[in-house]
């Protein structure tokens, strides 16, 4: 589009040298306003394209996290529940995608608030028209609506993915999916609008760059509420405080899941810069990539060392969780830390995981994949760590924001879980848990030919 506007100028430019000095000056004078406009437009265009591209790249990277969650969770459940876990992950992502465009997106980024700063607008997402021109673009200094939508949708779906791991192996499919629809269509978007939709938390100065609290702890709170309402898996906790270990069936798959999540996190944090069209923005995105990576390293290494010290032998599942906790920890502020600080912030996340995974078991809170330690506990830590490297944030505000988000996410989720429990029942019977959900609920085995316990 822009090209057509400028090409005549180029033609003119080529023609000019043939003319004398005077005419030339005149021609230039004629052309000048157009040149000025063209340069400005070209710059605007470049920024818009690069920002949109950042969202598109970030979007597909964060999309792939859905596969990462799915593989991590499917690898960490017992094989008799693996088909169910895969089914839940595909279904939750699909439903999130629909719920978010029907209500979520405009609830989260309201043009007009229903209650200013607290409750956004209710209307389905409308993309910019086909072949939109500069003049008709929604926000020419930002990015295309479609790119923004696709990026934000992936965050919303991630919240639901966090929940599915914690409640695995004993929740019924349909109530779970009902929860997902409400979570991704309503609960999360409302909460997220407070910070990212320029609502009251944003006003207050709460700082959560890519969502340690807004996405990860939020998902963790929803998961915690679910786990409490649902109860532990049948047989998980013995009478005299005995913990019956239920090892994950496919650790290589879980490891793949972790790597995919790590990959996706470059989009998750990098894309949250929301801009890539200037030198400072692209340099910031680069900083974020580097800090994100090193925080994951810190988390993994801390979990590796600590699990070896505590249990004599290294624990792969802790290392996987540790890397993820490192990523969650840096998510609230992946930009301002130095590489060293980012590594330490991530390492603390890894430490948190190693200590809190067994702690949850002490309280008989049965979180199959470690979603609560990784996303909730490390998410809270990440949120509180922001002021350590970002002088614009304060511990007080961070704490208040974190608490408000937590209270809302936990209570809202709890209410929904309790209603679902009352209305449909959410728990698979003990006997069916023993047989395995794949046989009783799905009639389809994940690995029909291997083993048969």
């Amino acid at each position: 589009m822009q090209l057509k506007k400028i090409l005549p100028l180029a033609a003119l430019a080529v023609a000019l040298p043939a003319l004398g000095m005077a005419q030339e000056a005149e021609a230039v004078a004629d052309a000048a306003p157009d040149v000025l406009e063209a340069v400005a437009a070209l710059n605007t265009e470049m920024v818009f394209i690069m920002n949109s591209l950042l969202f598109l790249i970030g979007g597909f990277l964060v999309f792939f996290m859905a596969a990462g969650f799915c593989m991590l969770e499917t690898g960490l459940v017992r094989s008799k529940n693996a088909t169910m876990q895969a089914t839940k992950n595909v279904a939750l992502f699909s439903l999130a995608g629909i719920a978010y465009f029907i209500v979520g997106f405009n609830l989260m980024y309201p043009g007009d608030w229903v209650i200013e700063g607290w409750l956004g607008g209710i209307s389905p997402t409308v993309l910019e028209p086909v072949g939109v021109e500069l003049a008709d673009v929604d926000d020419v200094e930002y990015a295309s609506v479609g790119s923004d939508f696709i990026f934000q949708l992936m965050f919303c779906a991630a919240v639901a993915s966090i929940v599915s791991g914690a409640v695995a192996e004993r929740i019924k499919l349909w109530p779970f999916l009902a929860f997902v629809i409400i979570l991704t269509g309503i609960i999360y978007p409302i909460q997220a609008s407070w910070s990212w939709g320029e609502g009251f938390l944003d006003e207050m100065g709460f700082s959560d760059f890519a969502g340690s609290s807004i996405v990860h702890a939020a998902g963790g709170w929803a998961a915690l509420a679910g786990v409490l309402v649902l109860g532990a898996r049948y047989g998980k906790y013995g009478k005299d405080g005995k913990i019956n270990v239920m090892p994950g069936s496919n650790l290589p798959l879980a490891t793949l899941g972790m790597f995919i999540l790590w990959l996706g996190w470059f989009g998750f944090n990098g894309g949250s810069q929301l801009a890539m069209g200037t030198i400072s923005d692209v340099a910031d995105v680069s900083r974020i990539f580097a800090n994100t990576n090193t925080a994951a390293s810190g988390g993994a290494v801390a979990a590796l060392i600590l699990s070896t010290i505590l249990y004599k032998k290294p624990d792969l599942t802790m290392v996987l969780n540790g890397a993820l906790a490192g990523l969650v920890s840096i998510t609230a502020e992946p930009l301002t830390p130095s590489l060293g600080a980012a590594t330490l912030i991530g390492a603390v996340g890894g430490v948190i995981v190693v200590f809190t995974v067994p702690l949850l078991d002490k309280f008989k809170i049965d979180d199959v994949v470690g979603a609560i330690p990784v996303h909730l506990f490390a998410g809270l830590w990440g949120t509180m760590a922001v002021p350590l490297t970002n002088s614009d944030a304060s511990f007080g505000t961070q704490f208040v924001g974190m608490a408000i988000i937590g209270a809302f996410m936990f209570v809202a989720s709890l209410v929904v879980w309790l209603i679902l429990k009352a209305v449909m029942g959410i728990r698979i019977s003990d006997e069916d848990q023993v047989t395995g959900l794949d046989k009783t609920e799905m009639g389809m085995e994940a690995y029909p030919e291997f083993g048969n316990s």
């Binding site: 023993v434 046989k439 009639g443 048969n452």
Partner: protein, 112 residues
């Protein structure tokens, strides 16, 4: 000596093992098997086609015991493996002529 072969429900294994250990059984072999019996399997659906899975996962225990212990072992097995639901399993007793411990060459009751 007798050779006891039993089919039990998989989730009963730990309980049975502990009960047997308590009465002095010092060894056994466990095999994952598919059981066919009165307990019906389940129906699976695959891409629109239903089919019956007639076999149910069970564990098979094999235990060489001295004549003196046979009755106690069978009784313990029957009591602990029992859930009163169809498919609890069977206990078979065969005569065992000889037993040898590979490591030492000991035979008879000493080998068990």
């Amino acid at each position: 000596m007798k050779y006891i072969i039993a089919a039990i429900k998989p989730f009963k294994l730990e309980e049975v093992r502990e009960a047997l250990t308590a009465i002095g059984v010092r060894g056994m072999m466990v095999t994952e098997i598919k059981g066919f019996g009165a307990q019906s399997g389940h129906t699976e659906i695959y891409r629109g086609a239903e089919y019956a899975v007639n076999f149910v996962p069970k564990l098979r225990l094999e235990i060489g015991v001295s004549d003196a212990m046979v009755d106690q072992v069978v009784e313990t097995l029957q009591k602990t493996a029992r859930t009163d639901k169809i498919g609890d399993g069977k206990i078979f007793v065969l005569d065992l002529e000889a037993a040898t411990r590979v490591r030492t060459g000991e035979t008879g009751d000493d080998a068990l």
